[in-house]
Symmetry: C2
Subunit: 371 residues, 2 copies
């Protein structure tokens, strides 16, 4: 296997870095999975080999996140932007009244709001646009409407770098609507309180790895609320009834995701990912707070994402030099999202502590040379 | 690379066999693509590395199929079953009148008809159900309605084993509606007459390989006809405007498809795939016709698919023995679709002539031993 013994650290926001061991196993099995004579990409999705891969992936995922039996786990396609339409097409059917409340905390939830407006009376229940997307509005201030088909939150905003440490307790706010949480960029980095949600979705290409796979967790009682125009291939009831095999699933992405699930389990599970996320992000945020102003992060401390850390050089004319030096130091894909600018370090599960340490060391050295 | 020097021949209907050389290259590049320090699965889709992979794939595909400049090539998700909804959501908008004519020639076009009925007044313009799906109704007999938003055909029926040798010339039939062709299971095995079609789509998991990628070719003038409820992520206009990057594309599947496109080109292009498809399928059909009744194929000769060859043992009590012996002989995934029964050999581009010869040799031997 021609691979460097020490690969660069890849801070891409998604698709994103994967564990070396997962990639090595995938490479070794590429032409022959478990003596079947076929690579995983070549298997009929209905054959016993792929069925066993799918079932194992679902089962490990259910174990890792302690998903209760009354939630279906669906493997779908289309990513977060696809789900922005697929969720209202599934939950805002005629019997659900058509009201959709969206808590806007950044670029992703804003997109969810705009897309939902095609399918119902969707409004922002709160917004952090007034403060430049640096904090998460307190749940007690959210304007939730009685009888809404659902309330949408994005529990980690990849672009803006905000994260909800816990999902909101809508019942405690007197709201009976189901909560929908877009957990794309922090899934498997902390446990999910299943008593608080109706639907969780996550594009796999951020904290799990391969693009083209969307995980959807849907509570059993929320099936059957789809709009008549919901495509069969994206109808949760249809996908659930066919065990994610109504249309051909993205088989290779499911296989890779399954290897990542096994890797998470072997590392100590979601609890260990949670501990590492706290440790890794603290290392970087502590430096940003203590660096004397050369770099800064604008997000309120209690809203900072452990997965995506946007930061800025106070002297932005140094941005190109910072990125070029980072590449030379083996620190890749640190450029911030075009809508935000500056830098962004994504610290997903597969990013080791050593990568964050290397980034902080480089940042210190760069500040010393240019400060 | 731990792979057998001679792998079994895999006749799966999709996902399906891939060229060994493609899989070997993918394995070699798994941890480090072209010295980038990242595997393809780990690259941001907006980084220059993946953008180059996407652009190369589109460009090679355009060259292979001689796609004219007024057709957009889109890389989407959801497969053929997804497109069954995505096509009418894109073409049957209010200004297009809402009439949809579907030529039913098998399981796939039947599904397209049923799904289209959610979005417009969709009817069967013809059907081969009366003859047990063994022939393709002559185009002159199709009941096409004036002003239909589009006419849908499935030019290769994977399950039933029927293929249109050429796409119908709707204009010659006096029909001005655009033709939509589901070419999922024979794309890249013959040229497409672009003057006859408005939209071509194809799930990649059949004649190209990796699941989770859908190719869509859409004529420029057909953009802008979408229903208001068409999701942004599946709106051809949006996907075209963003160069297949509105949502995160299925990056690894695109990379593998790109390697397959290069492989097709290196083999001699679509003309050579066409020649081989004729040669391989003739080898099998000739044996089926000359075997004296031990096996049979029910499809009319002029409608037989060169990609998917369903066949039956006259004595069906021998089915299990046939399949078990085939596996032992290194001939995999020959079981027919559950709705049809019997056997099915899929002879996609990546299946070498030697595989078909091995199959025919096995069939002869089996017939001799059990005849």
């Amino acid at each position: 296997m021609p691979a460097a013994p020490q690969r660069p650290f890849n801070f891409a926001p998604g698709p994103a870095t994967l564990p070396d061991s997962v990639l090595r196993q995938a490479a070794e099995e590429m032409l022959d999975w478990h003596g079947s004579g076929m690579g995983v990409m070549e298997m009929s999705h209905r054959g016993k080999e792929f069925v066993s891969i799918l079932e194992q992936a679902v089962s490990t995922l259910r174990e890792l996140l302690a998903v209760p039996p009354h939630f279906h786990i669906l493997f779908m396609q289309g990513g977060g932007l696809g789900e922005n339409a697929i969720v209202p097409m599934n939950l805002a059917g005629p019997q659900a009244g058509g009201l959709i409340d969206v808590v806007v905390t950044g670029s992703w939830s804003k997109k969810s709001l705009v897309e939902a407006q095609r399918y119902g009376d969707a409004r922002a229940a709160a917004s952090n646009e007034v403060d430049g997307r640096t904090s998460i509005p307190a749940a007690a201030t959210w304007q939730l409407r009685d009888g809404a088909a659902y309330v949408h939150v994005c529990s980690n905003e990849t672009i803006d770098g905000l994260e909800m440490a816990t999902l909101p307790d809508l019942a405690a706010l007197g709201c009976q609507s189901p909560l929908v949480a877009d957990c794309s960029s922090h899934i498997l980095s902390r446990q999910i309180d299943w008593s608080r949600v109706g639907v969780v979705f996550a594009g796999a290409q951020k904290n799990i790895g391969p693009a083209g796979l969307t995980l959807v967790f849907v509570r059993e009682d929320l099936l059957g609320r789809a709009l008549p125009i919901c495509p069969s291939a994206f109808d949760y009831s249809v996908v659930a009834a066919h065990g994610s095999m109504y249309n051909t699933p993205p088989t290779y992405s499911i296989y890779i995701a399954g290897l990542v699930f096994e890797w998470v389990k072997a590392q100590g599970g979601v609890a260990e990912m949670d501990r590492r996320a706290a440790e890794k992000s603290a290392l970087l945020y502590n430096y940003l707070d203590d660096c004397g102003g050369f770099y800064r992060n604008r997000v309120a401390k209690d809203a900072r994402s452990r997965m995506n850390v946007p930061f800025f050089l106070t002297n932005e004319t140094l941005n190109d030099a910072f990125l070029a030096g980072a590449r030379e130091a083996g620190l890749l894909q640190l450029k911030g999202h075009k809508s935000v600018g500056g830098m962004r370090a994504s610290l997903y599960n597969a990013m080791p502590l050593a990568g964050v340490q290397a980034l902080v060391d480089y940042m210190k050295d760069f500040a010393r040379r240019h400060g």
